[in-house]
């Protein structure tokens, strides 16, 4: 009994230190998530103004642009999967990957070839393990993405979208993004959205009926402005996806670490009870041994007298 008591004490100690770690991770995630939300909020004026400008352009000029034209035939599709770099965030990365897999299936059923792009080490590892080719991976910024990261991704995706089939081996007709949308601290939903060709007027950002857009003069020309604006618009969409993904990752991590801490607490409670029982059993046995010994001694002395 004494051995198992020691074993239980060791187990309690180890669970206690695990609990300390998960608790620390929970607190770190909680403090970072506020910063991540602030960053997402700080980036919103830019995307709002950009959307406004692009809508104005789309409404008042009849120029066509490669980035908004629907291709006549679409045989190649690209998917950007945005996951985290690190684990210990519950089902965060796997739910995004699952959503991406669904999209891949759907596009394949439509007879399209799918090229994969990943952001974050988790998605890259997932596809590498399954020996599935990934055209390009980016990683190292999942919990605090910068605009430069978004631009690197956007440049690559725009390049493959604009390129003709014989110009680029990964030329594509449509680009999708799968990421985790941050709805609240408790709810983050994996979302798939088509990035290119652009659907310029976003349902959420569309100007209201009465809010008539002013008749702009474009300098140097509507086409040139559109040319400069649309890549920025794409970059800004990717940036906002990355920021939402970062906030979702931290929220998922906080939740996962919270339940890990709670579980550790439960485990400690359970082990403490078993250890107490074992200690009590040991004491009871010792007492009965002593009592038995004393009785035997008393019997022996009585018999000799």
């Amino acid at each position: 009994m004494a051995v198992s008591l020691r074993e239980y004490r060791a187990k309690i100690k180890s669970v206690e230190s695990t609990k300390k770690i998960t608790r620390a991770m929970e607190l770190i995630a909680a403090s970072r998530i506020i910063k991540a939300q602030q960053r997402a909020l700080a980036a919103s004026p830019y995307s709002r103004e950009l959307t406004r400008a692009v809508s104005a352009l789309a409404t008042f000029s009849n120029v066509d642009h490669a980035l908004v034209t629907e291709p006549e035939v679409s045989s190649h599709a690209s998917i950007l999967v945005i996951t985290s770099d690190r684990g210990l965030a519950g089902a965060y990365s796997s739910s995004v990957i699952k959503e991406a897999e669904r999209l891949v299936e759907k596009l394949k059923a439509e007879g399209k070839t799918v090229n994969l792009y990943t952001s974050g080490r988790k998605a890259a590892a997932y596809y590498k393990f399954r020996n599935r080719p990934v055209v390009q991976s980016w990683s190292g910024f999942s919990d605090q993405p910068t605009y430069e990261d978004a631009r690197a991704i956007a440049n690559e995706l725009i390049e493959v979208f604009v390129a003709g089939e014989d110009e680029h081996e990964h030329a594509t007709h449509e680009v999708h993004v799968v990421y985790s949308r941050f709805r609240s601290m408790l709810v983050q939903e994996p979302t798939a959205l088509r990035l290119l060709p652009l659907e310029v007027v976003e349902g959420t950002e569309a100007p209201a009926e009465g809010d008539v857009l002013p008749l702009y003069e474009f300098e140097p020309s509507a086409h040139d402005v559109l040319d400069a604006l649309l890549p920025k618009y794409v970059t800004s969409r990717i940036y906002s996806a990355l920021l939402q993904a970062a906030a979702s990752e931290l929220a998922a991590r906080q939740k996962a670490m919270k339940s890990a801490t709670d579980n550790a607490q439960e485990l400690i409670k359970k082990y403490t009870r078993i250890a107490n029982q074992a200690r009590q059993a040991g004491i009871t046995q010792e007492i009965s041994e002593i009592v038995g010994g004393v009785n035997a001694l008393a019997d022996a002395t009585a018999a000799s007298e």
Binding site: Y46, P214, E217, F218, L229, T235
Partner: protein, 134 residues
């Protein structure tokens, strides 16, 4: 000046709102040359090049900011200046801008790359903004 005749200005970088407030005049550098915007300007959407934005506020103060390629939109006395990077003159780290410029020039000499040219232009814009603010 009537109270309605002021410009509502927002200087926005990709990751934050740099400055917002009321102003009476803005000078920015577009691809077509420098443009001055006064209240009641006709609606305009124009591309900017790396350079300096000069804003005179309603308190008659002037501040200067460095912006990289972005655009300027004017409508109904609302002016939005959008750039991927924007820094007010007092936020600019002069040493860092100089170092960036040197590095960009060196990188440019090696292969004359587009990225190096953009970095150099951005560094120059920051240096100019600091000089103008003095």
């Amino acid at each position: 000046m009537a109270s309605g005749d002021v410009l509502q200005v927002e200087l926005v970088a990709a990751d934050r709102l740099v400055w917002s407030g009321e102003a009476t005049m803005i000078i920015a550098r577009t691809t077509e040359g420098d443009v001055g915007v006064l209240p009641n300007h006709a609606p305009m959407l124009s591309l900017m090049v790396d350079g300096v934005v000069d804003v005179t506020t309603t308190e008659n103060e002037t501040w200067v900011a460095a912006v990289d390629a972005g655009f300027l939109s004017v409508a109904d006395n609302r002016v939005s200046i959008l750039a991927e990077h924007a820094e007010m003159s007092h936020e600019i780290d002069l040493e860092k801008a100089r170092a960036d410029l040197d590095r960009a020039h060196k990188a440019g000499e090696d292969d004359g790359e587009h990225a190096a040219a953009a970095a150099a232009a951005w560094a120059e814009a920051r240096l100019r903004a600091v000089e103008l603010a003095k």
